[in-house]
Amino acid sequence: MTGAALEVHAVVRRGHFALDAALAARPGETVAVMGPSGAGKSTLLDVIAGLARVREGSVRVGDREVSARRTHVPPQKRGVVLLRQDPQLFPHLSARDNVAFGLRARGTPRDQAITAADEWLWRVGLPGAGAHAPRELSGGQQQRVALARALAAGPSVLLLDEPLTALDPETAGGVRAMLAEQLPAAHTTAVLVTHDAVDAAALAQSLFLIEQGRITQSGSVREVLSSPATAFGATVAGVNRVVGRARGGGWQAGPLALPAPLTGAVAALFRPVDVVLETVAAHTWTGALRLAESGDTAPGEWIARVERLEQTLAGVRVHTAEPGVAVDVPVDAVAGLGLVSGLPVRLRVDAASVRFVPA
């Protein structure tokens, strides 16, 4: 890709773990990276920041190669700033001096750096907090100062490693809104690692999914979240993804059959809220199986076993097995149905709520 502000192809080996991932960002673009724990997200950021070396591949910031097999520009000369979950404010400096640190390091005279720092603090929503020591600020305020410090340094690339994870939901919402405002305003190219699809949707233009050291899907945030290509992607997007085979206008995955327009390996995508859950007459699993084998199920209907229940903001998410499908149920219904792990249930999904994509 030409004209990219950041171009990465990182190949790193650490013991049994191998990372081989490529991503690119246009100038001023925010790119989100999501992946399960241990997928290599932090290693990828370390490579871009210059804290880890690549075995193969390269990192280009603008038109400058900063990492390659035989090239390693030290972190302080890359113009790449990493903002972590822990704000890492210098505890011996005031909020203002923290923000001014990067400017001073670049040789900006002290009074100019201080003026700029106060302006940045105002922009991140902390006017007048300059004289406070970091320990006098709340977690959210500290993260705001850390962002001001990072942006004030005028980085070519800003790396954000789960910047909202350590904050409570309300504070995180405030900081997220501030990021959504300041990242485009600063025209900074940014890479955001997050485990929350809301962050990706609110802050990023494109989304890369990384699993076991490899990029498994990339595209615009909307594209990836609406057509997840892997089970992890489906979890992130909050949809059910069931892979089955389609032929002759029908699609089947285990006990679940639906009419489908495609042929071959096809994944069905549907939301947990579109699945209807009922109890079955038989209360034992063998009884339920007999019921299922008797063919007493309509298209889009199947018998499944409750694996576990998970509390959500909207109610309860019921996870069922074979195929793995999540169902959203209001919390009062859980009590009415007497749902517990191991209970056989009848599930039904309307064909109109299901979207089929090639698997």
């Binding site: 972190p75 000369k77 113009g79 890492q88 210098f90 640190f101 410090r149």
Partner: protein, 270 residues
Amino acid sequence: MTGSERGFVPQILVVPAVFGLALLVVPLTALVGRVQWSTLWADVTSPAALSALALSVQTGVLATAVCVVIGVPLALLIARAGARSAALLRAFVTVPLVLPPMVGGVALLFLFGRSGWLGPTLAGWGIQIPFTTTAVVLAQTFVALPFLVLALEGSLRATGVGYEQTAAALGAGRWRILWRVTLPLAAPGLVAGVVLCFARAVGEFGATALFAGNAPGVTQTMPLAIYTAFNGAGVTQGTAVALSLLLLVTAITVLLLVRAWRPAATGVVR
């Protein structure tokens, strides 16, 4: 306070504990009891005492300065070394700490003495070290350096390199990181180290006695003056007691200084 907050240590252990405390405190009380307050000022300001006092302060300050100049880089080296090499380096630094100072004095004499490794070479350049004020400073540095290095190294290691990485990412060079981040964050350890280092240098006797000798005005520091006084030459016993009291007060002041720095230490390093 309830019993459970105090733990479950056998109560009878209070007896040896009190004996231990008495052993540490009572002799010092006896020393203070021997002070002749009427002549204290005269004793402290006697020419022999003043010259010992001045020499002690000068050499102590000089030795502490030398310790800072070479000890801070050494502490940085150990704190940022790998676990295994750090353990080895730390062992080298600790040896002078546990070694009887006399042995240190002998070792210095074998290095810089007339028949030592470096002595003849230095003598060829017209430099003689043993039995000079330089020797006093050298001996004090030898015994005091470990205090500064170990205190600072612990502080540096506890802070870690996270803040240094952050500073580097913000574009700061190595020197700026050292002056603006690493050393300020390790300040509690540095202050404690400097204070302990100075206290040890001022109290140094064994290595100085062997390597520098006991020449009034040249190498006779306060501890040597006290020793000489009790052997009945040069200074009076009254002076010796007064000087001892002065060293005791110095020690307590130093202790209070270090204690006063502790809260700041916990406040700064989260």
